[in-house]
């Protein structure tokens, strides 16, 4: 990445493109867009060195609204396209914007491979638990039994927990937050940007049109305190109106929720190398949102695909000059005439 230059003096408005934002009024996507535009100046990068690549979906319109480079690609393929860019252009900060259908339905394979490769990509997964753009079919994160246009008798598929899937796919950075929690969103974006490698950030995003209120229980005062479990690196994991609940180790090698207990409480360590910890954390979140863990679950270092790919090119170049003539001649030639 280019060196950080906080002297650029860019303002959030500098990151607004001239395109009219076309999401439905009240769409959670607006909040994320604003948070992103407010956050980017703090990165200290020039606008031209930032690229947003999206798939298809409401959320995937994101790049049009950013005054950076951007590509609105095809459904599900953004991680693959972004990989080619990230590998060849270490000077760029490459962001992927995707939806729950885009990333987890048609694009599931590219996502898990990008994560295991640990390509330098920041992947923002806007999870509204519905297909917005195509007007309201269920998605791979929709709760079982969901009534939608394509499932008038209720959906049958057990949903993915995107973070469990990502951790199972060897991800080095995974986080979750809510569209309405600007502070946490910003801090997670910062951490993701700082992480060298793939960062998956799941953002629960309200779609007021096709899945309105999907996350209301995580936003309503009185409810949210009982349900939201924010984790902070180095802090014991406590929650509840009076921080009376906590995440505790259980005796089956997993984690569980119980009354706060100083001896059993888990102190969050996002750098835990063994992904079993972050995975266990991810299982505390349930389909019905009885509990939802937010924050950076996992943030560990591992060599990135793109750094290594470039290192191989450097090593090869150092070892052997790029002598085209000799390549074409090979070892065994003969002369005619």
């Amino acid at each position: 990445m280019t060196t950080v230059d906080l002297e650029l003096g860019l303002k959030p408005k500098d990151f607004k493109s001239d395109q009219e934002v076309r999401w439905c009024p009240g769409c959670g996507d607006y909040v994320v867009l604003n948070a992103m535009q407010s956050f980017l100046p703090s990165l200290g990068l020039k606008r031209e060195n930032i690229v947003f690549i999206s798939g298809i979906g409401c959320s995937s319109r994101f790049p049009y609204y950013m005054n950076t480079y951007g590509m609105h690609s095809i459904h599900g393929r953004a991680p693959a396209i972004a990989t080619g860019l990230a590998v060849t252009r270490p000077d760029l900060s490459v962001w992927v914007v995707t939806g729950d259908g885009d990333a987890l339905s048609i694009g599931g394979n590219h996502l898990i491979h990008a994560l295991r490769r640990n390509v330098n990509l920041k992947i923002l997964l806007f999870n509204n638990r519905i297909y917005g753009l195509t007007k309201g079919q269920y998605s791979p994160t929709s709760e079982t039994g969901k009534l939608t246009k394509s499932t008038p008798m209720g959906s049958l598929d057990h949903p993915f927990n995107p973070l469990s899937l990502a951790i199972g796919a060897e991800a080095t950075f995974v986080a979750r937050t809510l569209d309405n929690d600007r502070a946490q969103l910003t801090s997670i974006l910062t951490a993701a940007a700082q992480h060298r490698g793939s960062a998956l950030v799941e953002i629960y995003q309200n779609c007021p049109i096709f899945n309105d209120g999907a996350f209301d229980v995580l936003k309503e005062p009185g409810e949210k305190e009982q349900r939201l479990i924010p984790v902070e690196h180095g802090q014991p994991i406590r929650f509840g109106p009076d921080r009376e609940h906590a995440v505790l180790r259980n005796d089956r090698g997993g984690l569980e929720i119980g009354p706060y207990d100083e001896n059993r409480v888990v102190v969050h360590d996002a750098t835990t190398d063994d992904p079993a910890y972050a995975f266990a954390l991810s299982r505390l979140s349930t389909q019905d949102l009885a509990h939802t863990v937010t924050g950076v679950y996992r943030n560990v270092d591992r060599p990135t695909y793109d750094d290594q790919a470039r290192a191989q090119v450097s090593a090869a170049t150092d070892a052997k000059p790029a002598d085209l003539r000799s390549l074409l001649r090979g070892r065994d030639t003969w002369t005619v005439g």
């Binding site: 020039k46 049009y64 609105h72 393929r77 060849t88 170049t317 002369t335």
Partner: protein, 598 residues
């Protein structure tokens, strides 16, 4: 065909026979000698001559041990196939013949199609249940080799099996062991998709210069490396292995020192996607595959058409449909290349006519891709990919200058100081404004774009205009005129081909001319757009014969475009045309002509 089969069988038998008694004899097996232009029979010879002319070398060397390799490698042209029994390549044996390092591993055989096979192990494995002694079992490894070659060259097996049973009639266990080993070799070829073919074009006379042997896949790979150098761009290959294209990935991955990055992607879609991402960032994006992979890449190629970004897509065609005949050659992806995407999605299509031509065609394809900012498809095929020919080594200084100019200044035609991605130059190409360029931030995508400005547009007139602009851009790609080889200048029959049929068509035409008859030959390297003079060329001849290894795909295009009643001659057998076969087909039409003329 039957005759050829019989000869092969008996030759093979001879081979098996001799080898059985001379287990350390280095067997050299070759398909037709290079100087017999275009013969595509399947003879099997011992190499009994020591000094081979460049054009008369074995195509396949079966080296059962390091000594055999060392003694004979000099005879094998580069690009030739080395079938090597790895079991004998142990330190002691290597040392004995003076190899410091294992030549199978140190890269010194890079110029060959190396097929390292643990033949002894595999043979012993195959014979494990026969109760044969280890030594007896080991002896059968030559039959394993023969079985593998029979597979590779598509030979029927019954004859050999019968021969073995007859030969060892008095030792039925030995007979069965040999049959088992033979079959194991054959099965190995099928299960692991071993590919072999013989592609032979020998021009009437080699122009002077320095030559080497080259296979089509190697030439494609070198072409890509060279194009990157000529364009002074990094090369990014995103690819997923598939027979017979995998070797391009393998080859390119050895040349990272030319600023080449190769990525084995999770699938074909990711491969082309990553290549497109790299192209967006200003690299030479390349993806390589075979027919089924092209089908999978179609949606992304369509995106590249819409985004008007340069991209090189190589399809090494194999037998289809579906998985088809993965190790056989065919030319049946032409219409897929042209039409296999939703909407009006035009792309230039090129096809090399010989292994060496793969190099030039790739360079030309990259020229078009970079110049017109468009994906370009190159259609090679299995016969070119693994076949080889003597190649006049190009002079590096004469390679074209492919350097590009990235946009650096905003270009909005309304004076707004913005960058408009869809402003076009005189060739209708839009600017290539890569991320990282200050002030040119813009967004592109797969939705229809407003002419010029490039923002999303649903305007009907704009869409109609953009569809036609994209088409006009591709129709306007400059391609060289079609050259016709019509020595006397009075032929009435033109044979028009494309792709790897060049060799056999050329051979057949020469044979006919030798007989004193006139026949014209032309070969299309540009399938879209066609050379500007194609219509005029077609109009000059009373009969146009179009031989293809498909059901008449080029014919369809010619008929539609020029309303010419071309004669389509097709064979879809997974094997190249034979000279004799084409001579017969062409003669039918010549016959009439002569009669009429008389």
């Amino acid at each position: 065909m039957q005759l050829t089969g019989d000869r092969f069988t008996s030759e093979a038998a001879a081979f098996g026979n001799d080898l059985a008694t001379l287990p350390n004899f280095p067997a050299e097996i070759r398909a037709p000698a290079g100087t017999l232009p275009g013969v595509s029979s399947f003879q099997l010879h011992f190499a009994d001559d020591d000094i081979l002319t460049p054009g008369d070398r074995p195509d396949v060397l079966v080296a059962m041990n390091p000594a055999a390799l060392k003694a004979n490698i000099g005879d094998v042209p580069q690009g030739g196939t080395l079938l090597v029994n790895t079991d004998e390549f142990v330190k002691r044996n290597l040392g004995k013949v003076g190899y410091d390092a294992n030549p199978l591993e140190d890269g010194s055989l890079d110029a060959y199609q190396l097929l390292p096979v643990a033949m002894a192990t595999l043979t012993q494995g195959a014979l494990a249940d026969t109760g044969l002694s280890k030594k007896d079992a080991e002896r059968c490894k030559n039959m394993f080799a023969l079985g593998l070659l029979s597979w590779m060259y598509g030979r029927p097996t019954e004859g050999t099996e019968r021969f073995l049973r007859e030969k060892f009639a008095r030792k039925p266990d030995i007979a069965e062991a040999n049959v088992l080993a033979f079959r194991a070799g054959w099965n190995y070829g099928e299960t692991t998709e071993a590919f072999a073919t013989t592609y032979e074009v020998a021009p009437a006379k080699f122009p002077p210069g320095e030559y080497r042997q080259i296979t089509g896949n190697a030439a494609l790979s070198y072409g890509i490396v060279a194009a990157g150098q000529c364009a002074q761009l990094p090369v990014f290959l995103g690819s997923y292995p598939i027979t017979p294209a995998s070797d391009i990935l393998h080859e390119l991955s050895k040349h990272k020192n030319f600023n080449v990055i190769t990525m084995q992607a999770e699938d074909e879609i990711a491969g082309v996607g990553a290549a497109l991402g790299a192209a967006y960032g200003g690299a030479l994006g390349v993806t390589t595959t075979s027919g089924p992979g092209i089908a999978l890449k179609a949606e992304t190629i369509g995106l590249a058409v819409m985004q008007e970004l340069p991209l090189l897509v190589i399809d090494v065609q194999r037998g289809g449909p579906s998985t088809g005949l993965p190790t056989k050659t065919e030319q049946a992806d032409l219409l897929q290349a042209l039409h296999g995407r939703n909407g009006e999605s035009p792309v230039p299509v090129l096809a090399p006519l010989s292994p060496g031509d793969c190099f030039d065609v790739v360079i030309d394809a990259v020229r078009i891709a970079l110049r017109y900012r468009t994906p370009v498809l190159v259609l090679s095929d299995g016969a070119l990919a693994n076949g080889s020919e003597p190649w006049l080594i190009p002079d590096v200084d004469e390679l074209p200058d492919l350097r590009v100019t990235f946009a650096t200044e905003p270009n909005a035609t309304d004076g707004s100081g913005e960058h408009w991605p869809y402003v076009r130059d005189e060739s209708l190409a839009r600017e290539w404004a890569i991320p990282g360029t200050p002030g040119l931030q813009h967004r592109i995508g797969g939705l229809e774009k407003a002419d010029g400005k490039g923002s999303i547009s649903y305007d009907p007139d704009n869409h109609d205009r953009m569809v036609r602009l994209r088409q006009a851009k591709i129709d306007g790609v400059e391609v060289p005129g079609l050259e016709v080889e019509d020595p006397g200048g009075h032929a009435d029959v033109l044979v028009l081909g494309w792709g790897s049929t060049y060799g056999p068509i050329g051979a057949a035409c020469r044979a006919i001319r030798k007989r004193g008859q006139s026949i014209a030959q032309a070969h299309l390297r540009h399938l879209n757009p066609f050379p500007a003079n194609l219509g005029e060329v077609l109009a000059r001849y009373g009969t146009v014969i179009v031989p293809e290894m498909n059901l008449g795909q080029l014919s369809l295009l010619l008929r539609a475009r020029y309303l010419v009643d071309v004669v389509s001659y097709t064979k879809v057998a997974g094997t190249p045309f034979m000279e004799s076969e084409l001579v017969d087909v062409f003669s039918e039409h010549l016959g009439t002509t002569l009669a009429e003329a008389a």
